[in-house]
Symmetry: D2
Subunit: 286 residues, 4 copies
């Protein structure tokens, strides 16, 4: 059994001594560092770090950790930060639609324990997957969205997310564009899978566009949602080869296998607190 | 030693009996088919075929083949066609610039006999590679191009190409935009390598754009040049992974290895008469 | 809606006129060829062909097709052959074990209609997946196998396969070695997924071996089962990168995504009658 | 212009405070850390670190650095270490044979300044590449090796390497097996490229073996040479897809492009001091 850990993500302007100061804080209180990843962007002079340490012999109690870290390192070093505990499973909502392959894949990983995650609810604009989702013991809410009821339905969605204490959202081929207001409620906490190799073919029907353009490779892109359609920070991309023999339908079929894996990898990275975002780009500590 | 062969490329509207008729023609005169590839586009009702056969026991003499094929199959079946003989090495010009990695790669393949090709000349807008090219026994012409002399230099280039009986042109990171007039002189016979995964990042500085967008995969695209910049029929694409650690310079360095291989593959396909073009898309018989 | 088609797979010694003769047969009776793929192995002088044509205007009734083909082309040309009709869905059994990711993936493709297939039964040596399988309307048979009861259980399996009129079997990480007798009952009709890049790491615990050897890429291999363990004809392979950071558990996790996709691709190719086997190697018409 | 840096590579048993101590040493003397990568192997309790810092404001003079580091961190923490200065270009010998593609690729990267490296000599068992190598201003020694003169020629090679102050050796498809004595003179300092996806197909003729086995993917592996043939620590691997259409010659041709890139990547990593070796496995800080 893996021991309980704390995970601290920070970024700030690069300056001498950062790693030494941060590791000093953990060392001082008896913490055993399991993973340490850092990245210094020498062009823009930014510093990023992810550090994870065991809590077993760490003498600062979890409930006092944030305050102590703020006082001893975060404020003095003028850092932005996120602090997580491995004992606390992230609560993830899934938004789905008729294209169920990503949802089915997520449910499988959830049910087999591949991911340390809670899924308190699935929201869809169709009834199709209700039985499958409920068979996994997850509440299913069908909120059909159209042009007229969109804001009302989003209000209902936000309410459900709040009631279920959701930390972040996965759009598993949800096929609806979220309003800027909705997006701003979950900044860098909505993960989308787009079925193209962005920035090529944003928007709808990318496989049709790919076939028309005659590309030899198609792809999928997982990114955080921002108010700019398909233009948020990219988390992960994947590709597969196609040829003149592939119809749009073949691309859709082949693309599904890429989408599933790319989305799953992005969710895994997010769940494990491996991602930092700055200036619409991600730092991913794999 | 490989025997002499004839290669026939055809396309036409799809109709019953095409393969039977074409193979019948070859069979009738004792030809032994080595390779047969065909593709029927069921959506647009087009038929594409590449057929290669040995000439040793073929009773139609090479100099009469075109006429006989026209009479017996090509006109009756209303086909577009190209006819080649393996004994006749394609004559390829290379246009280069300061970024010499693709040119160096082509020269290596040429000098080791990997490709069945003649390179009667290299044209560059810089002197840099003169010695290397001339060491390979290939004439080198330096024609510096700027805004003012472009049309004049293109006229000189066209003259050189004609004098050296050039069949097709490879732009090995040539970095100059050819005029529509120049392009129209070599339709589907100018191969370019663009250092991005088209249609993403056309134009200049694609690695800078890729870094700014924060993509996780970069690529290269080889295509026939048309008067639309970076929008011609795609022959081949390749990719390599990058991360937040990669600076623009790292992407340039990693990209070079992809560009070289993608361009070489496209040239190899062209040399072996494996490519048909229709509606700005390629059919590539690998 | 796709029309009904016939699919003919043949191989024989290469000789002149084969394509012409075979296409002549189809043409003669008004068949419209949809796909034609052929391969001539010039080293071993073998000829392979897959041809699919529409039956709508074809004047030979399906029930007389085999006899007529035998008489007019197959016997005269001395060919081995397989003949299929697209109207006849293949019946596929799945053998599974505790590692359920491949089975879950297959069920998803089955339930969404991605594959034209019937799954009349799933056989497992564990009870774990009973509910999931039965929820898909598929009978589930749990036949635990150990050293002592293996032959008895195999006899029971063969009986179930016969009763359910099974055409071919997919071992979805079944983890049991089948007896040569069992294998010989379904020659080139048992598809296995091995969790390594064969011929590297055959046998058990390939991820452990991969980690010990310090490879930088791991893979999965789908192949037809022969009496030689993990040495049958390879249908498809896939890979993913790993590094020193990946523990055996990480490799197992990453490997699952490769296994799923590689097995699915092999099954898809088999279902679409795209594979010919000769001398322990496959010809795969993609 | 990049500033001068020092690079310290260390490994030792994992224990608390290592990163803090090491960064403390650099911080204490005013060093600005550019790159810090560390890896803790939790299974085998080993710790690996690569740290690179600017020397400009660092108050320890380069000539005293090793002694000071030994005294203050390396001995107290009981670490194995390597210390390098970026101002000191590695001196690399290349061993080649008739298959010149890797050598030509290395010369191109050398001549264009892609790599920070000195190549004081090339040793080959054939005369073929003399002119190309000497055109690059590099001395060329032809030492033909056969069964009888092998030890004598190796003695001559070792003498040449010593005279030219060579730090490490690249076997660019050298095709000769080095004696254990030779190998032990350059432990983890001889980089080989093997033309298969190891551990599959060690030894000679791997493409022939790959074709016979009918694999769908071929590869290349770069590794440090040990006295066990093709069994040394793997640095980098790459792959490319093949099919039943590919003859052995096609695989050789396609394989060359993989070999070149995989070897170049391994050399680049070695040149940049990114590799640590323990227990026949590499830790590669990319």
């Amino acid at each position: 059994m893996k021991n309980d850990t704390a995970i601290l993500l920070v970024y700030c302007s690069d300056k001498p001594g950062l790693v030494h100061e941060i590791t000093g804080f953990i060392h001082r209180y008896g913490g055993n560092i399991l993973y340490l990843d850092q990245h210094a962007d020498h062009e823009e002079k930014n510093f990023f770090m992810r550090i994870e340490w065991e809590l077993e012999e760490f003498t600062v109690p979890p409930e006092q950790l944030e305050e102590k870290a703020l006082k001893e390192i975060i404020r003095p070093l003028d850092m932005q930060y996120q602090l997580y505990f491995s004992s606390c499973k992230p609560r993830m909502a899934v938004f789905a639609s008729r294209h169920a392959h990503c949802l089915a894949d997520i449910l499988h990983r959830y049910s087999t324990g591949e991911w340390q995650v809670e899924i308190p609810l699935v929201i869809s604009n169709h009834e199709d997957m209700r039985r499958t989702v409920e068979n996994n013991g997850i509440p299913y809410f069908c909120l059909p969205v159209n042009r007229d009821n969109k804001l009302k339905q989003e209000a209902r969605q936000l309410q459900l997310l709040a009631e279920h204490d959701v930390e972040f959202i996965v759009l598993a081929r949800y096929m609806q564009i979220l309003s800027p207001e909705f997006v701003s409620s979950y900044p860098n906490r909505i993960i989308n899978i787009h079925h193209s190799f962005l920035p090529a073919f944003p928007g709808s029907n990318p496989y049709r566009s790919a076939a028309d353009r005659g590309v030899k490779i198609i792809g999928a892109t997982s990114h955080y949602v921002t108010s700019d359609l398909d233009a948020g920070p990219i988390i992960e991309q994947g590709i597969t080869r196609v040829s003149h023999r592939d119809t749009v339908e073949d691309m859709v079929r082949k693309g599904r296998d890429v989408e599933r894996v790319v989305l799953a990898k992005a969710v895994y990275l997010h769940l494990n607190r491996k991602i930092l975002v700055l200036n619409n780009r991600t730092v991913v500590f794999e």
